[in-house]
């Protein structure tokens, strides 16, 4: 499944790196707000679901080759975060949904293949 399919299925809004949505494959997912937890336990190609909005999330996603970041609960990514994400090529998606619902829906989509 690519990021474009994920966005359409969940009604997410893309805040940067539109050009990468078609070509980026989502292989799995990880959820967490502790950056060391995500550094240690996420896998390359995961979509990361978080409530964090500061620019360090871009560094984590980039270093771990994550597919993208979903920011939940209507939180607004900081301007610096979006600038850095654009530079590093990390798509940032936002939604008003809570983390639990987003994770459940992504999990179901990925399980269905």
């Amino acid at each position: 499944m690519n990021l474009e399919t994920l966005i359409e299925a969940l009604g997410l809004k893309c805040k940067c790196c539109w050009e990468k949505l078609k070509s980026t494959q989502v292989k799995g997912g990880y959820a967490g707000d502790l950056l060391s937890d995500v550094m240690a336990n996420s896998s390359a190609g995961d979509i990361w679901v978080t409530r964090q909005v500061h620019q360090n999330i871009v560094a984590v996603a980039s270093l771990k080759d994550l597919a993208g970041i979903v920011v939940v609960q209507g939180a607004t990514p900081e301007k610096d975060t979006l600038e850095r994400a654009g530079k590093e090529g990390i798509p940032i998606l936002v939604t008003d949904m809570a983390k639990f619902e987003v994770v459940g829906r992504i999990y179901r989509l990925l399980s269905e293949g």
């Binding site: 502790l34 060391s36 240690a40 390359a44 500061h54 360090n56 999330i57 984590v60 270093l63 080759d65």
Partner: protein, 147 residues
Amino acid sequence: MSGDDLIESLEGIYHIQGRDFVDAGIVSSEVKKSLQGKGIPESIIRRIAVITFEAEINIISYAQQGTIQLFIEPDAVIIEANDMGPGIADIDLALQEGYSTADDSIRELGFGAGMGLCNIKKFSDIFELTSEVGQGTHLKSIVKLNG
């Protein structure tokens, strides 16, 4: 290994300013980029990225300043982090998962969960940590390239 050999394998020295969370991850990104295109497997590069990131965050969180040095040997990558910080009084305690002395400003950013040093140890093949209270901390991590 002699000192000359180490100088020869030095790939980069990166300076890190304490309390500068805005630039956190920049050094790790540079380290990652300098490892790419050298025939090192991506999975090993990602392990080194975790180690470098956690070392970088520790320096930013606790020290006035510090450096990260990257060495590329034929059979291993070595990451050394040195800082001028408060030092660690009890290394065994600091290596317990969940133990942290981070303040709220660090925790609000999603750091300071007491996982950083554990992650470095977990992703290293060889891990050395020495420290002197009031002087600083020295960390050496070796990641072998041949599994």
